[in-house]
């Protein structure tokens, strides 16, 4: 392996550095701008450091569209948390069953149905889902939103792929040892699945935290809005409170960024697991 010329290394690092800069600059700008008034930003947009570091802006956005900010934050936490737990449990059980009995016609049909669902333009699914929620009487309820957010393709593929790697012989050994299917699931399979379940949970949480359209469509009042929906409203309001928008963006972005940085390897490999051709 011949040594690369120095200039090649410098060029490579410059290119990667430039790309990284473009990727990361928006966060920086977001953070700095959240501390600066709209006037100050208008005056000198590229100023690298805010004039003051006060958190006054939070008072300004304490109310968005007539609903307190903490309400939106709480909704985000509850809805994202609940849909993550529900989604991962339901998907894990479902994927496990589909992997254990792959040739059963009803399961084949179910899997096909799921595939078809994820191919439908997600944003447009809210149109008929609105009608479904209406018929089920779930409009405006937390349950409705949570149920809709529960299923997702990435979690399914991740879990399905994992269950497929469990050697058939381990299951057979448990059968001969005398375990019932339920015992096999809880004593043998689930302990093995813990890391993947954790990964799927983290990814589901990250993705669901960002959801806004389903929440907007199913909600009847801002009482059930989440943070991203609040941002959409704030963004569209007249008499734009620029600093407020940035501050809210920061609030939305920080938790998931931290989450991601802590579990980055898991998240990156988990999210791309279905697409990597081995």
């Amino acid at each position: 392996m011949h040594q690369a010329a120095r200039w090649q290394k410098i060029l490579a690092w410059s290119v990667a550095g430039l790309v990284s800069f473009v990727c990361l600059y928006p966060y920086y700008w977001m953070l700095v701008s959240s501390f600066r008034t709209s006037k100050a930003i208008l005056a000198s947009p590229l100023r690298p450091w805010p004039e003051t570091l006060s958190l006054d802006v939070l008072r300004e956005i304490a109310m968005v569209g007539g609903t307190p900010l903490w309400r939106y934050a709480l909704n985000s936490l509850v809805i994202t948390g609940a849909s993550t737990v529900l989604g991962v449990v339901v998907t894990a059980l479902g994927a496990y069953a589909l992997v254990r009995r792959p040739h059963f016609w009803a399961f084949r049909l179910l899997r096909a149905g799921f595939m078809v669902t994820i191919m439908y333009p997600y944003m447009l699914l809210v149109i008929p889902v609105y009608i479904v929620m209406y018929k089920l009487g779930l409009l405006g309820s937390y349950s409705g939103i949570v149920l809709f957010l529960a299923l997702g393709p990435i979690q399914f593929f991740l879990l399905e792929q994992f269950f497929r790697t469990i050697p058939k012989s381990v299951i057979e050994a448990a059968v001969i040892d005398g375990a019932t299917e339920v015992q096999i699931l809880f004593s043998v399979v689930m302990p093995m699945a813990m890391p993947v379940v954790a990964t799927a949970s983290i990814i589901t949480f990250l993705l669901n935290w960002a959801q806004w359209l389903p929440v907007l469509v199913v909600s009847r009042s801002p009482d059930t809005y989440t943070l991203p929906v609040a941002l959409m409203n704030l963004n569209g309001e007249l008499g734009v409170n620029f600093q407020g928008i940035m501050a809210l963006s920061v609030l939305i972005t920080i938790p998931v960024t931290l989450f991601f940085l802590i579990a980055q390897r898991r998240v990156m490999s988990g999210m791309t697991a279905g697409a990597v051709k081995g």
Binding site: M1, A12, W13, A16, S20, C23, L24, P26, Y27, W29, S33, I41, P45, L46, V90, G94, A95, A97, R101, H103, F104, L110, F114, V116, T117, M119, Y120, P121, M123, L124, L125, I127, P128, V129, I131, V132, L147, F148, A150, L151, E181, L206, W209, W212, P228, L231, N235, I245, M246, S249, T253, V256, F260, L261, Q264, V267, M268, M271, V276, G278
Partner: protein, 299 residues
């Protein structure tokens, strides 16, 4: 030798697996399949009656209406063109960047660069696009200020119909590129090092190695991810909702967004007709992919 009585091989009992799969099946059916069926159904009804217990059937009237609508047709073309552009740039750029990060030139910086490019992928798209909207702003967007300082021509950004698609593309690339970069990095790691070393011994240049050794091995991954990207970009919605609201002058009025607008206006029949058209395109692509894959693996 007495003839053995042959019984048909019994399929393994499904038993308790019904229980395991029930919640998943219920959710998929109620919030997945049923809405889709409903959507297709609604596309054959008159918008005003869609929500009523017995809607009026109008056959293909909605479909004829939308194809007669110049805005829809323009939107359809626009969506397809934009998607093609977006997919090509995403896949090509992602591949190039992955190759760069994979090479020895970058070495220890790899983890940082990977994180930097993937972070936008997990960032709530709304927050990201809100920032980009202001970065592109004509008066006090950071981009134009920087360009002016470097004595470069300013960028029309979201205000001009000639540049808005590029601006939207940049924002979407920011959000999606990292995903594909990481995928390709993983695929590159799976490449057969033995072949590369053999090529080295044969005296191949870096370009020849890429073309003859690496690229053939990446072909299936490139194909799968191109279709995945196609399906993803066809659904472009949030970026338009946040940054341009379809404008200026419908320049970014993509199918998803237009359909949603109609839904907002209560024109359910036409909205679902459009959604069905988009859905049909995706299905065709997905089925096409499966066919090509099956042929490739010789199954």
């Amino acid at each position: 030798m007495a003839a053995a009585a042959l019984q048909p091989a019994r399929a393994p009992a499904v038993g308790v697996f019904w229980l395991f799969v029930l919640p998943f099946a219920a959710l998929t059916a109620v919030f997945g399949v049923w809405p889709i069926v409903l959507s297709i159904q609604t596309s054959f009804t008159a918008s005003a009656s869609a929500l009523k217990p017995s809607p009026t059937w109008v056959g293909f009237a909605n479909y004829l209406a939308i194809f007669a609508d110049p805005v829809f047709v323009a939107s359809l073309w626009r969506t397809l063109l934009y998607t093609l552009l977006a997919v090509t740039s995403t896949i090509v750029l992602a591949l190039l960047y992955a190759l760069l990060l994979n090479s020895a030139l970058v070495g220890r910086g790899r983890t940082f660069f990977k994180l930097a490019v993937f972070l936008p992928v997990v960032t709530p798209d709304i927050a990201g696009y809100v920032v980009w909207r202001w970065l592109f702003d004509q008066s006090f967007g950071a981009l134009n200020i920087a360009l002016a300082a470097l004595h470069l021509p300013t960028f029309g950004g979201l205000a001009s119909t000639s540049t808005v698609l590029q601006a939207v593309l940049v924002a979407e690339l920011w959000h999606h590129l990292g995903f594909y970069v990481v995928i390709f990095l993983a695929n590159l790691a799976l490449c057969d090092k033995g072949q590369t070393e053999a090529a080295d011994i044969d005296g191949a240049t870096a370009l020849q190695k890429f073309w003859h050794v690496v690229l053939p091995q990446l072909r299936p991954a490139l194909l799968v991810n191109s279709v995945y990207a196609l399906i993803q970009y066809l659904k472009t919605f949030t970026v338009v909702a946040v940054m341009t609201k379809g404008g200026p002058n419908d320049a970014t009025n993509f199918l998803s967004y237009y359909a949603y607008q109609l839904f907002d206006q209560g024109r359910y029949g036409e909205a679902t007709a459009m959604a069905s058209v988009l859905f049909a395109i995706v299905i065709v692509l997905a089925v096409g992919l499966m066919r090509v894959q099956a042929r490739g693996t010789g199954s």
